[in-house]
Amino acid sequence: MSITARSNPRATRKPPATVPLSEHDLGAPATAVLSWEHGFVFASGDGQLAFATTDFKSATTTYVHTGAILCAAVDERRDVILSGGDDGRLCRTDPTGDVTEITRTDRRWVEHVAVSTTGALAWSSGKRLNLQGARGPASAFELPGSVGGLAFSAKSNRLAAAHSGGVSIYEPDTQKEQAPDLLDWKGGYLGVSWSPDDRYIVTPMWDGAARVWLLRDGEGFTLGGYLAPPRSLSWSTKGNRLVTSGAQQAMLWSLRGKNALTKPSEGRAWRPALVSAVAFGPNDSFFALGYSDGAILLAQVADMNAILVRPASRNPIAGLAWSPDGLRLAYSQEDGRVGIADFTLFAEPKA
């Protein structure tokens, strides 16, 4: 998709002046937004999962947790939602809204959950990490610090767990007694992400930087230039670009060529606000930016031109997720307002 008018004879030649938005209020802070086989899912601070069709024509709600949903992930078939909450439970919810409790902890919160492409499951409560291989046995680990993020590599199926002091890497199907590989660097981490080609692991740091590790040799370096921790980060599907939140301009890092991870692209400061959420579109040519003032922009990688998708509304954008066809963008705001932006009228017709 590129940002041009669709030349469908039945549609008007000109695209609408504004992107059609459908919005809804969860009534509690929005804590996650996900894309799955059946549309979009929003998680909330009062324990509900709201399921919306991509056009938002219909939405259903299931109360899965009694407190806040702190983490949510889709399974490897994009058909089941795994969610953890401050009620200490880890649950799976299927498309019919049926909820199964996987585990329950006492006075602990389930803060992070991740699913691998092969179906391995990982979740954490404080320093405790639980790992369930797709076929292998379940194991539990006590990490040196609280877990700040969990992510499986799409390529190698390994699990990265960020915790204060670094990142530990586990092999879900073989991990037994052996110690995990540790990438160490002092500090606090707010998440972890693998580049699609497995060359890098990137972790947003609490003190306003991103740490990058080269998996080849474990060497690391720090990406700077941020005004806030780059909590949200997104890779292009080919893995040659990384965009992050945490500054007034889009922090778009190239992973190839002369300036590879040394200098971000000359992104423009389009708005007098901080970028709070980012999401690369599925075809790598554009990415969405959510701002701390509630605005959403769509920017093209090639010329760094941007259009306003949603005007500012004071409350920060907390999450963004694309439909696989890149025609719809779901978003959530910290105060619980959620919506879907519809780009179908802007899309080029299929050849």
Partner: protein, 319 residues
Amino acid sequence: MTNLVPVTVLTGYLGAGKTTVLNRILSEKHGQRYAVIVNEFGEIGIDNDLVIDADEEVFEMNNGCVCCSVRGDLIRILGNLMKRKDRFDGILVETTGLADPGPVAQTFFVDANLNARTRLDAIVTVADAKYLLDRLADSHEAEEQIAFADVILLNKTDLVSERELATVESRIRSINPYAQLHHTVRGRIDLQYILDRRAFDLDRILKLEPDFLHHGHHHHHSDVASVALSTDKPLDADKLVGWLQELTQTKGGDILRLKGILSLKNHDRRFVVQGVHMMLDADHQLPWKPEEKRQSRLVFIGRKLDGKALQQSFASCEA
């Protein structure tokens, strides 16, 4: 956002009576809802409020300063608490008896996300009237807990004589003459003295007089003490800010708390500053009244503070 959730830090050495005070806060009929973050050794007997176990995970910032450490678990827990639909009137954080309150306070200075939703209200230290002197003699942390306090509850006063009480109080004042000190028995205290104190709000720093004048020299060789600087001459804004930055950069490890109300040349409003270690927070506040003597005062509580040298370098900021 105007409705920031106040966070009260409850500290004190093992056995001083922190848990008793905490249970009192929670069991009183005040109609307020508190979330309580307890340490792993806490034995809280109340279950009608939200109680969360914390790990007291301290980590250093990557700025090369060892004094810049923060409580990672607090950032995580408070951040997640703010995701709940049901809000709290306040949050109570109980530290372990062996904890240094510095990292807890610093967490609020550095995390913007936390600052958007919560505010550090006060550090309340519970001290054992009978054993505090022994603890101060053998524990670095006991000293820090007194030094950092905005409010000190001198507990178990029924177990000591008047004379012993005067001695321990005098010792506390030699470390921290600015905290509000209350005598308590079994942690009994009117909650208005410990909650919603706004001790870290710049607009509440209205005067900096010691709560108690400590006369005479003491025989303890404590290196934690307070220093008060003052001048009647207006200060130069650039010189002052430069001096404060330099001072906190180089001596931040030894400065536990600082507060100041300063008169700047060509400024009608009071310049108010407060800090913890290297972290500083400053702003122009209320205007000086016409009849008011524009005296600048800056007070420090810290280790190895050279009062004479500080007064001299402070004087060099005069306009």
